[in-house]
C-alpha cells in the first residue's frame, strides 16, 4: 500500500501552512523576545477579513491582498497600542498581555457572523477543475496553489531577511539591541515592522488554509497553538527553523494519524503528538534544530 508517500504529501501540504504561520511568530520573537500567544487569533482575523470581502463580491486574490494589508496594519496597531507601553516591564508581563489579547480578539471575532460555524472560500476561476494525482493521492488545485503560495512567501521573506537593508537592521536588533541602537537604528521601528510582517504572514497562512480546507474560528486559532511545537522544534529564533519545523510537524502529525491512530485505542493522536514532540525537544535540545544555543542553565 502506498500510504506512506500519501501521508508525506499531505504532511507537506499542511506543513507549509504551519511554516508560514511560524514565520511570523519567529519574526516577533527574534526581534523583541516576545512569545505571541495571540498569533492564532491574528491568523483567524486575516482569513475572515478576506472571506468577508469575497462575500461582498471582491475577487479572491484581491481580497487576500487586502486582508494581508489589513493584518499588516493590525500587527502595527497591536505593537503601538499595547506593546510599546510595556517596554521596560518584565517580559513575562508582555507575554501575558498577548494571552489577554488572544481572548480579546476571540471575542471580537464572535461579534461578527464568523464566530461560530464553518465557512469556505468560493474557489477562484483559476483553481477550479481537476487537480493532479501524486502517488494515488488526489491533490486539488487549491492545495497545490496553497503550497506554492506558502513556499513563495517563505522564500521571499528569507531572501528579504538576508539581503535587504531593513532585514539586516532587523537581524541587528535581534542580535544586540544596545549595539543596534548605538549605531542609530530605531528599535521601535523594527519592533513595529516585525509585528506588521507577522500580521501579514499570519493573514497569508489563514487565507491559504481557508482556501485548502475551510474556515472555522477554532481551527484557525488552533494553528496558533500548533505553532509552538513548530517553533520549539525549529528553534525559536530561526527563520529556517520555522520552515523546516513546519514541514516536519506537518509530516509527523500525518504519520501519527496514519499509523499511531491504529495502535492507540480511540486514535486522534494528531492532536497531541506534536506537543509530545515539543516536550521531548525541550528536554533534549531546547534551542531546537536551528535556534541559537544561548539558553543559559540557570
Amino acid at each position: 500500500m502506498d500510504l506512506l508517500p500519501q501521508l508525506l504529501i499531505a504532511g507537506v501540504v499542511i506543513g507549509s501552512v504551519y511554516a508560514l504561520a511560524a514565520l511570523g511568530f519567529v519574526l516577533i520573537y527574534k526581534s523583541s523576545r516576545v512569545i505571541n500567544f495571540a498569533h492564532g487569533q491574528i491568523i483567524a482575523t486575516g482569513a475572515f477579513i478576506a472571506f468577508a470581502l469575497t462575500q461582498k463580491g471582491v475577487n479572491f486574490w484581491l481580497a487576500g491582498l487586502i486582508a494581508m494589508l489589513a493584518t499588516f496594519l493590525l500587527g502595527m496597531l497591536i505593537e503601538r497600542v499595547f506593546l510599546r507601553r510595556m517596554v521596560g516591564e518584565p517580559i513575562i508581563a508582555v507575554i501575558m498581555v498577548t494571552i489577554g489579547l488572544s481572548s480579546v480578539i476571540d471575542g471580537l471575532i464572535h461579534l461578527t457572523p464568523y464566530g461560530a460555524g464553518t465557512f469556505g472560500f468560493e474557489r477562484p476561476a483559476l483553481l477550479t477543475g481537476q487537480g493532479i494525482e501524486l502517488f494515488g493521492l488526489p491533490l486539488s488545485k487549491t492545495q497545490i496553489a496553497g503550497v506554492l503560495m506558502a513556499l513563495g512567501l517563505l522564500g521571499g521573506f528569507t531572501y528579504f531577511f538576508n539581503k535587504s537593508t531593513l532585514g539586516i537592521t532587523m537581524r541587528a536588533v535581534a542580535d544586540d539591541q544596545m549595539a543596534a541602537m548605538s549605531v542609530g537604528t530605531s528599535v521601535e521601528r523594527v519592533f513595529a515592522l516585525a509585528w506588521a510582517a507577522a500580521g501579514l504572514t499570519a493573514a497569508a497562512a489563514g487565507v491559504i488554509l481557508g482556501l485548502m480546507s475551510g474556515l472555522t474560528l477554532g481551527g484557525l486559532a488552533g494553528i496558533g497553538l500548533k505553532v509552538f511545537p513548530v517553533v520549539i522544534l525549529g528553534g525559536l529564533d530561526s527563520v529556517v527553523g520555522a520552515i523546516v519545523g513546519g514541514m516536519l510537524i506537518g509530516i509527523l502529525e500525518n504519520l501519527s494519524a496514519g499509523y499511531l491512530d491504529g495502535i492507540v485505542p480511540g486514535g486522534g493522536t494528531r492532536e497531541v503528538f506534536p506537543f509530545i514532540i515539543l516536550i521531548i525537544v525541550l528536554l533534549i535540545r531546547p534551542y531546537g534544530l536551528f535556534g541559537t544555543k544561548e539558553i543559559e542553565r540557570v
Partner: protein, 395 residues
C-alpha cells in the same frame, strides 16, 4: 405610586389564589459551544410552554416558562438546577448537555426531580442514579445500532469504521456498537476520534480506505462530519464509502455546512422533519412558531421540534399529575405513559412510552438519506432497533 403597587400586589395575590403557578425550567447552551443547536432547542421549549398556557392545557395552572442560558458550562447548569429546585420549586427539569446531565445524576436521584435532556446519551439513563432520568427519544447508541442493522441487511460481513467526537457524547455508543456489530457479523475496522477543528482529514480517510472500510458511521456534531464529507469528496471516496450518522450529525445543519458533499449521507433520527408538511407535529410546530414570531430558520430546525418534544412530555406529565403537580406526581405521570396511555405529541415518528423500567420515550426511529440537493428523505419506515434491546437491555 404606592397605592398602585399595593393594588397590583393584591390583584396578583387574588389571581394567584385562583391560578396556581408551576415552573417549567430549562437550562442549556443558548450561547457558547453548540449554541447553534441550543438556541433553537430553547426556543422550542419556551414556545411550547407558552402555547400550553395560551391553550390552558393545565386547568387552574399557569406555567412559569423559565429558560436559562448555561453557556455549556457545567457549573452554571448546577447553579441553575439549584435555583430551579430550591427556589422556584420546579417539579421537573429540562436539561441539555451530556456532561452537565451526567454530573447532575446523583443530585437528580437525591432530589427525585424527573429530568429530560437534549442529550440522548444512554449513560444518562444507565445505572446508577437513573430512577428519575429520561430520554425523550431513542439514544445515540440506538441510532448507531440501527444503522449497523441497515448495513448488515445490505451487505453481510461488511467492514465498518466508527468516527466519533472526542468526548463522552461521542465515545459512549462505541461499546454497544461493537457488541451489535459482532452479533450482526459486521467487522469494525477502526474507531477514530475527530473533534471540531478537523480541517484536514486526508490521513484519516486514506487509512480507512486502506482498511477497506465501506461504511463510516459518525457520532458527532454536524461540523466535523461536514469537514470529513468535503475531504472525502475531494479524495473521490464518496462513491466508495457510505457515510452515516446519529441524530446530531445530520439534517439541515449538515446540508448547510457540507453542501453537495452531503449527498447520500444516511441519518438516523426519531424526529419528523420540517418538509413533511402533512405530519400533525410539524403542522403544530409551524403554527406555534408563527404564533411566537420565530425566524424561519429557527422553525425549520429539527432542534426546534426537539425542544417542543421535551416541553410537551413534561407538560403532559404535569397534566396527569392533576391539580397539584409536584415532582412525585410528574414522575408518576411520566411512567404512566404506556400501553393505551402512551403519549403522542406528533413530533417524533412514534409515541412516547415510559414505564418504571423503560426510560426512553419515542424509541422508534427512521433512517433518512440526503438527495443531491441535501434534502433528507426517509428510506425506512418508523422502526425500533431489535438488536439494540439485545446489546443494551434496560435495567
Amino acid at each position: 405610586m404606592k397605592k398602585t403597587l399595593i393594588l397590583s400586589a393584591l390583584v396578583s395575590l387574588s389571581f394567584a389564589a385562583a391560578q396556581k403557578t408551576v415552573t417549567l425550567p430549562w437550562s442549556g447552551a443558548i450561547t457558547g459551544p453548540t449554541s447553534d443547536a441550543g438556541a433553537s432547542y430553547a426556543a422550542g421549549v419556551e414556545d411550547y410552554c407558552k402555547y400550553a398556557n395560551s391553550q390552558k392545557m393545565l386547568p387552574g395552572i399557569t406555567l412559569n416558562c423559565v429558560i436559562r442560558d448555561d453557556q455549556y458550562n457545567n457549573a452554571n447548569t448546577q447553579r441553575n438546577f439549584e435555583d430551579f429546585v430550591a427556589n422556584l420549586n420546579a417539579p421537573v427539569f429540562l436539561g441539555y448537555a451530556t456532561g452537565g446531565a451526567l454530573q447532575l445524576k446523583s443530585v437528580i436521584q437525591e432530589t427525585k426531580i424527573p429530568t429530560l435532556t437534549a442529550s440522548y446519551h444512554i449513560g444518562i439513563i444507565d445505572a446508577p442514579d437513573n430512577t428519575y432520568t429520561f430520554l425523550p427519544v431513542s439514544s445515540y447508541s440506538e441510532n448507531i445500532v440501527a444503522l449497523l442493522e441497515y448495513v448488515a441487511k445490505k451487505e453481510r460481513g461488511a467492514k465498518v469504521a466508527l468516527v466519533v467526537n472526542p468526548s463522552p457524547f461521542g465515545r459512549d455508543p462505541v461499546v454497544d456498537a461493537r457488541k451489535a456489530a459482532e452479533r450482526l457479523g459486521l467487522k469494525i475496522t477502526d474507531v477514530q476520534e475527530v473533534g471540531g477543528n478537523n480541517l484536514d482529514n486526508t490521513a484519516l480517510l486514506k487509512r480507512l480506505e486502506a482498511q477497506g472500510a465501506k461504511y463510516i458511521i459518525n457520532q458527532n456534531t454536524a461540523g466535523p462530519v461536514a469537514n470529513i464529507l468535503k475531504d472525502a469528496k475531494r479524495l473521490g471516496l464518496l462513491g466508495k464509502m457510505q457515510f452515516m450518522g446519529a441524530h446530531y450529525t445530520g439534517g439541515e445543519d449538515l446540508t448547510k455546512l457540507a453542501g453537495d458533499a452531503a449527498k447520500d449521507f444516511i441519518w438516523a433520527t426519531s424526529y419528523y422533519l420540517y418538509d413533511e408538511a402533512t405530519q400533525p407535529g410539524i403542522i403544530l410546530a409551524k403554527k406555534i412558531g408563527a404564533q411566537f414570531k420565530r425566524a424561519a430558520d429557527t422553525i425549520r430546525s429539527v432542534h426546534y421540534t426537539s425542544g417542543m418534544m421535551a416541553s410537551a412530555i413534561a407538560i403532559e406529565a404535569m397534566k396527569r399529575a392533576g391539580a397539584n403537580p409536584d415532582a412525585a406526581g410528574v414522575y408518576k405521570g411520566l411512567i404512566s405513559m404506556n400501553g393505551s396511555r402512551a403519549f403522542n405529541p406528533g413530533f417524533a415518528v412514534g409515541p412516547v412510552t415510559f414505564s418504571a423500567r423503560d426510560h426512553i420515550g419515542a424509541e422508534s426511529l427512521r433512517l433518512l438519506q440526503a438527495d443531491a440537493t441535501g434534502n433528507f428523505k426517509a428510506i425506512t419506515g418508523a422502526q425500533r432497533s431489535a438488536m439494540f434491546q439485545l446489546v443494551h437491555p434496560m435495567k
